[in-house]
């Protein structure tokens, strides 16, 4: 599903951020990406979302070489990746429903289809009944669930989360992680960057560890 092949990333001002990173996530696999701050976790995730392109090597998503993708293809690649962020990145002036509906509206779904899928997605994350609320009145855990609902509403084959529990307490974090496991069980590939070692160790999944831009365990 996701394959890194000798990927290096060099910024002119910061030098090598990633060095010869290679790994392969199978379809339906769930894996954690961990490492100290500045180890290159965020950069690695940016390569998957084609926010950046690697300096050397290849990133293959669903068999497609992301380095060779033309700019106009990038939006369609991003539709295959459900992104989840530490700060949720919700639109504060839109309701929960509108936030979750955004990827579907972008893909051009009709009103009824959007409504049906948004409800299904909110149901999965346990927020059905809060469609009309605004993000500001929800708790942190609920806001992240909205973020997750938005990421899965378009049924992408890969979900990538960047510190999804970074702003949540341990109990809520465990709930969110459990939610990810449910998606994995229906065949979604899950890739989570996190430095919450204790939480990761409780869960029995593959762990990729970055240290100064190099993959040390996989």
């Amino acid at each position: 599903m996701l394959k890194f092949d000798n990927v290096s990333m060099r910024y002119p001002e910061a030098g090598d951020v990633l060095r010869n990173v290679s790994f392969h996530l199978e379809r339906g696999e769930m894996a954690f990406l961990t490492g100290h701050s500045g180890a290159g976790k965020s950069t690695l995730l940016k390569l998957i979302a084609v926010i950046e392109r690697c300096s050397r090597g290849q990133v293959l998503l669903d068999g497609q070489n992301l380095n060779l993708a033309k700019d106009r293809q990038v939006p369609y690649i991003r539709r295959k990746v459900g992104l989840i962020f530490q700060d949720y990145k919700l639109l504060q002036d839109r309701t929960v429903f509108d936030n979750v509906a955004l990827p579907l509206v972008i893909a051009g779904y009709g009103h009824h289809e959007v409504s049906r899928r948004v409800r299904a997605s909110l149901d999965k994350v346990g927020l059905l009944g809060k469609e009309r609320k605004y993000p500001a009145v929800l708790s942190g855990g609920e806001q992240q669930r909205v973020g997750i609902a938005r990421a899965v509403v378009n049924k992408p084959p890969l979900i990538v989360a960047d510190e999804p529990t970074g702003n949540l307490d341990p109990e809520l974090s465990a709930e969110i992680m459990h939610l990810f496991e449910q998606f994995q069980q229906v065949g979604v590939t899950i890739f989570i960057a996190s430095h919450d070692i204790s939480l990761i160790s409780q869960m029995n999944h593959r762990v990729l560890k970055l240290d100064h831009g190099q993959l040390v365990t996989s």
Binding site: R27, I51, K89, P157
Partner: protein, 331 residues
């Protein structure tokens, strides 16, 4: 959607994403949905920020109404110039020894000239009758033993013969003809009016270009502010797979709505001004020959006004999107 990823999607997994509609009908529906969304969401935002929208629209409407107001002013002047035909008219006073039969033949010869629109022969008797009726000297004329008036041939040159030199040349040609005693035309009046019309026409063109540019840049600046206010939304939309088209569309529609509503407002401004001016102008006209009627913006002109202002709105926002949106990249 126009753009589709080159690699076809594998359909084997049930959790596969639908990138865009598969067949033509699906694509058409998606395309229609996207446009409907952009159309109504942009209108909704315009209504949501009605105070600032209204101010922008009023400013644009004033600029547009200045341009179209001067346009309609010139159109009204041109209507006056339409009566110019009468002034362009050349009167050929024939020599006294030309008989009516000969004069009629001469008139037919002139009619064959390709520069001539129409010719009318006025016999001595007709001229006298007209003179008696309109001059106020009816009784005095009756005392005359002999009709002193010459045969007159009125000649209307073709409208295409607008420029002054051509008219002058035509007049000189007539003057040299053997049958003609003298040929007359109020050249000075024609000359002045033509110069005024030329200045006015150019003035309106230049003014419209300037005001059009003004409308363009005011719209551009409005859209730039909107883009700035909605920066987060643009970034998030890009992250969840929005194409540039999807990002652009609501802003282009905003530009369209701003231009369109400004056009409507400008129409009302111009029409109101014309309504206010109508009565005094027609009173003035009645004091002369009463041939002048105030022209309003016609159906075609109104459509053109709305079309041009809408296009200016769209182009104005396109300029901003083209130059500013590239800088907005997700982090």
């Amino acid at each position: 959607m126009k753009h589709v990823t080159k690699k076809p999607l594998k359909q084997e997994q049930r959790w596969q994403t639908k990138i865009s509609g598969g067949n033509f009908v699906d694509k058409f529906h998606a395309y229609r949905n996207l446009h409907a969304h952009a159309l109504f969401s942009s209108l909704g935002r315009l209504v949501a920020s009605r105070f600032s929208s209204a101010m922008t629209i009023v400013v644009l409407a004033i600029a547009i109404s200045l341009a179209s107001g001067f346009y309609i002013l010139v159109a009204n002047l041109q209507q006056l110039a339409g009566n110019l035909e009468a002034s362009n008219q050349i009167s050929l006073f024939l020599k006294d020894d030309i008989s009516e039969g000969k004069a009629s033949g001469f008139a037919n010869t002139i009619r064959k000239n390709p520069d001539i629109q129409d010719v009318k022969l006025i016999t001595k008797e007709q001229a006298l009758a007209e003179f008696q009726a309109y001059s106020g000297f009816g009784e005095a004329v009756k005392t005359l033993e002999k009709n002193p008036l010459p045969i007159v041939i009125q000649v209307w040159p073709k409208k295409s013969l607008e420029n002054e030199q051509a008219l002058k040349a035509l007049l000189d040609d007539f003057g040299r003809m053997a049958e003609v005693d003298f040929a007359q035309m109020d050249m000075q009046w024609v000359k002045r009016l033509q110069s005024i019309m030329e200045v006015a026409r150019r003035g309106v063109t230049l003014l419209s270009l300037l005001l059009g540019a003004g409308v363009l840049f005011i719209t551009a600046n409005t859209i730039r502010l909107e883009l700035h206010n909605r920066r987060d939304e643009v970034v998030i939309a890009k992250l969840v797979g929005a194409t540039n088209g999807f990002i652009h569309r609501p802003f282009l529609y905003s530009g369209f709505w701003i231009g369109f509503f400004s056009g409507i407002a400008a129409w009302f401004i111009v029409t109101t001004i014309m309504l206010i001016l109508k009565q005094p102008v027609e009173n003035l006209s009645r004091l002369y020959d009463g041939a002048f009627h105030v022209l309003f913006l016609g159906f075609t002109e109104t459509l053109a006004l709305l079309f041009i202002s809408s296009v200016l709105g769209v182009v104005g926002s396109w300029i901003v999107l083209h130059f500013q949106l590239r800088q907005l990249k997700p982090e």
